[in-house]
Amino acid sequence: MRPFAALLLLSLSLVASACGPVQSSAVISDAEAAVEKARTAEAPKYALYNFTLAELLLHKAREEAGYADFETAVKLAEKAIENAELASQKTARAIHERGPGTPPAGSPTPVEPQ
């Protein structure tokens, strides 16, 4: 009975410790998808502010995951998703209001994100 209990505890702890990386990589993947979707929707042209934020947050999320700070990585990735989705919404609204290919007034020429 004792060896079984020990084995169970070990398995649980391994699962628990592996939970962070698994969750963070899942959220980061979602964020990457959201950013890519916004890019495809021409968010860099119509919602550059949110799109840039999304990219930077995603980048930082990856960095934090690299430092094994999975909790922070998840939070950042979630924010990246929010901004990417916001950028996509703004882009869709702008295209709907002004027509495709018309950038917002006063907006500088979009550049590729760093």
């Binding site: 840039t52 930077l56 006063g106 907006s107 500088p108």
Partner: protein, 410 residues
Amino acid sequence: MKRLCALVAMAGCAASGVLHERIGILQEHIKFVREKQRGEECAPRPLAIAEANVQFAVAEVDEGYGGRAREHLDVAEVAAAKALEESRHCAETALLAPKVKVVPIAKDTDGDGISDVEDDCPLVPGIRQPHPKNGCAPPKDSDGDGVPDEIDRCPNVAGPASNQGCPIDRDGDGIPDDQDLCPDEPGIPELKGCPIKDTDGDGVPDHLDKCPTVPGPAENNGCPWPDRDKDGVPDKDDRCPDVPGQKQFAGCPDTDGDGIPDIDDKCPNEPGPPEFHGCPPPAPEVKKHSLVVVTKKRIEILQQVHFATNRWQILPDSFELLDQVAQVLTEMPALHVEVQGHTDNAGSKAFNTTLSQQRAESVRRYLIDHSVDGKRLLAKGFGPNVPLASNTSERGRAQNRRVEFHILER
């Protein structure tokens, strides 16, 4: 160890404070661009970069990663500046656009050349400087050292920022290093910050010592007194500055060693006592005169002094005798003599006494006339009172009629 830990903790706190200050400034800056300059629309990318990096910096500070926080703040500051620049241009353009309702932003109330939009002190003329003091009056800097008074520990004395605006004075002598010829040795202002030195150890500091390597008294500016004869007695104290001598004789020699320096010695080569001015005392010899002999108590005369009968005139045959007496007295100037006159008992005593006095005075006068000082001579008549022989015979009376010379002092 505890102290070290405390220091590290203090340094950490100070660094954290600086980071928070930077974060606060950036947040204000971003807020301004976003709200006043339509930043999201006019400078979306730099604004996003600035915002994101400020957020990251906040997180890193909270996690205790100051270095990473600084990197994010560096990026954020550059981006924020760019956002301000881009949004300003965009905002002005937007102002000109007829369709857009925007409040005038090029107004410059204080006329300092910085529009109110950019001006953190729009009512006070100022200079262009980083937000949040852009357009504000420059900080007061009384000593003009580039370190504002508010953070200048020495606001009235110029000093580098690295020393909190105070002049650097490594040796702590109160003279700033840039004016200190000896910045690592405490010194005095008279020596431009260099220490007082006394190379020859004569008590006169080198900077006042005209002979810094040769000991000398302060009265002679640190130089030794001159000593021409090199006898160790300086010329100023040397009675014989050109002849080597002895200290006890004020630098004069004493050749005959009689204790009287040559300069005062009438006989420098013959020892002699002071009463004879350094000369040997005269020998107690008595010069031989044919008619006179000097003894201890008297000047003995080998002849009688002859006078006129019953009178006091000296007869010429006694002149040679008295001349010799005068000569003896001249040769022996220390002698004081009593000239005594004596008679026999023929006649009245009063007459003889008077006669003997007159005869003694007559002899005294003769000697004075022959260059003997009268003060050395005393004349006294004894009459018949001191006979040498019996007055009963002519021979005895002849012996009693006499003149004697008694030495009173020699």
